[in-house]
Symmetry: C2
Subunit: 407 residues, 2 copies
């Protein structure tokens, strides 16, 4: 049985919410031994929605899969010393720390490095200056809410998906691996920092939207509904009142859509009216409303099944909109795909859990493994990583410095 | 001057659009030598919006920063051989290939590996079975469009931001580094695959939404406007008709908001009416509409400046909504933050460009470096990587197999 491409790597994680837990889980699902420590009773995200009727957080269960858990009283000096000892424990495969806790005081990098000179620490913050921020306050600043949603309102539409947290979490995993690579080659550790708003603002730049605004070419106030920016793509309603998205981004996609729907007969007319060339992105984008108007009856006169049959035959780029519940029945979540498997989470039940989206031809893909119970591995971690004797662990329990499994 | 934490690593990239180019750029901005090859005249994304009046793609310029570029006729056997030679060129720091082109035929992994046994190749696809998909067809399938936007419409709201592409791009960078680490330790190369829809669907699971639906607890059809899922947070309009987002996710954030706005005087009343405890996430979420109603006049009676002064003083988690143009004036894009610097892109002008959001205390953060012109490095790449002589390069030009810089 494979143990994953990162087998043997150990990372200590002090985290809450999405970005840092996701970064740790990304590495854990590739086989790293990721040890998340939490305040006894759970951190800030331990009850984050969605929750079950019994109060179990499916969010926490989702973002901490494949990790080990230790509960420590982080407000006590003894607890903080224990965390420091875990973070700086010797061994070539350890000495890595991923956190979104404030990297100061007892978690100051210089202070930790004094105990282990080659410590690789990834510290995630809200803003570049260390101040705090959450995805839902960063996204409003990016400009995207003012270009999201239907044009009949100029109210901003904030994101439900914490996209920046996700981007930062995956980037943190890459940053940690880059830092560990450098250490392997040079022996040098370092502090790696990244902020949520930096990731978001960099991406507004990367996608060209910021440059476009800087050049005075985009006010950023035009809402375009579900039209795909910069080319043709939009949503339609079928006869049976289902919603579908169709896309003509590449030339091949565009000609497939045009041919499948009979739109080809109207193209010359649209081109003449709009004064554009529909074989270019710009032409299709400029004429998007007119194209959509011509296509609308085609969808309105057909059921989703009829639409699907015709579009699939012509290899059109399209998709039906689905709810979370409908996604459960998607063929891409079936057993044909090794990504998902049904796993039991104690106290909750059995439901489909995803493994890493990365599959390695030689190292394999580890099956989905549930999140730990809080403190499930307290004893074994202290024994294995710090070499504590049973009576030492007993004393820590007696003094309320640590706690064991909590269902 | 620093050369970046990944200095000495060479990656060949065959890509288009967001995910693969972003993955390559993430590594390039950490110092890897990333060589993107393109069909002569540019690939499918060479004219992607936003574009300048002169037709330059700010999108392409944004997603290919810090790379080198070579133009090759990919339809010719000689051109394909050249790509194969680049991908499998010897050297400890080479032998890495990142692509979202179909990994079959001339780009089949087994075929390439025959030339270099330890090749690490990351192949990104649309779906797990290798079929194609774009962000704008994946997002409809995730369930998020049916819970995005205001509740007065049940039409789905698709994402303007290609969030899944971004997640996949960053994950691809982590996957490549994991594969390279394994090779360094064992000598073994491998094919690493990941798909856009797998990344998206895994994240629906990671965030707990899929499990919630599987347990029959979430129909996924309730639109909640800008309310923050699972706790309190929403948007308000100020006296001067600006929009702001406020968040009470953690206990500290909630009490800061409550105290700053005088809401504290109404809390007991709201708790009694709704039968909830506002000190819990669930209580705040259940009573969200009532809380928002109570807060609405407070914002409506104050200008943005007045709101900002009070909320900042109390350290409330909040943000004004900004357009792309307004983001340009955000203090976090100023010279106080080393993330952005003004860089000239030939034929376009000078505008703020982001470096890597990752900053390394010892290896440094490389300054933003513009994208190459298409084919800007054709000659030097063939000389340096393949050791071709001038006359050999000349013959390739003569035969139309390669092309040099195109502005």
């Amino acid at each position: 049985m494979t143990t994953g491409v990162l087998a043997g790597m150990r990372i200590i994680e002090g985290s809450a919410f999405v970005a840092a837990p996701l970064g740790g889980m990304t590495l854990a699902q590739m086989g790293a031994d990721v040890i998340r420590f939490d305040q006894i009773g759970g951190g800030l995200d331990y009850h984050r929605w969605p929750v079950t009727d019994g109060g179990h957080s499916l969010f926490w269960a989702g973002l901490n899969k494949s990790k080990r858990s230790i509960q420590i009283d982080l407000r006590s000096d003894a607890g903080r010393e224990l965390v420091g000892a875990l973070v700086t424990a010797p061994g070539d495969d350890g000495g890595m720390f991923l956190t979104n806790f404030p990297a100061r005081g007892w978690l100051d990098y210089a202070r930790l490095r004094a105990e282990r000179a080659d410590l690789v620490m990834v510290a995630l913050t809200g803003n570049f200056d260390g101040s705090s921020e959450v995805d839902y306050t960063v996204n409003p600043a990016t400009g995207f809410p003012y270009v999201t949603g239907a044009g009949d309102s100029d109210d901003p539409v904030n994101s439900v998906l914490p996209a920046w947290d996700i981007a930062l979490g995956n980037l943190a995993a890459a940053g940690l691996l880059a830092g560990e690579r450098h250490r392997t080659r040079t022996g040098e550790g370092q502090l790696i920092t990244a902020s949520l708003s930096d990731v978001a603002f960099a991406m507004v730049g990367n996608l060209g939207r910021l440059g476009h605004a800087a050049l005075g070419r985009d006010s950023g106030t035009v809402k375009d509904g579900n039209h795909l920016y910069g080319t043709f793509g939009t949503s339609f309603r079928t006869l049976d009142r289902r919603h579908v998205m169709v896309v003509g981004l590449t030339g091949r996609q565009w000609s497939a859509l045009r041919d499948a729907t009979g739109l080809i007969d109207r193209c010359a007319e649209i081109e003449q009216e709009a004064g554009v060339d529909l074989d270019t992105d710009t032409g299709r984008y400029v004429a998007r409303e007119r194209i959509a108007e011509c296509l609308c009856p085609w969808f309105a006169q057909r059921t989703l099944d009829e639409v699907a049959e015709i579009l699939d035959k012509r290899q059109v780029a399209w998709a039906p909109y689905q709810t979370f519940a409908e996604l459960l029945g998607d063929r891409r979540l079936s057993s044909a795909n090794s990504l998902f498997s049904p796993v039991e989470h104690p106290g909750v039940g059995t439901y489909p859990m995803p493994a890493s989206p990365l599959d390695f031809s030689e190292s394999g893909r580890l099956p989905a493994r549930r999140a730990p119970l809080l403190g499930e591995h307290t004893d074994e971690i202290l024994t294995e990583v710090l070499g504590l004797a049973d009576h030492e662990i007993g004393t820590l329990y007696d003094n309320g410095v640590i706690a064991g499994p909590t269902a």
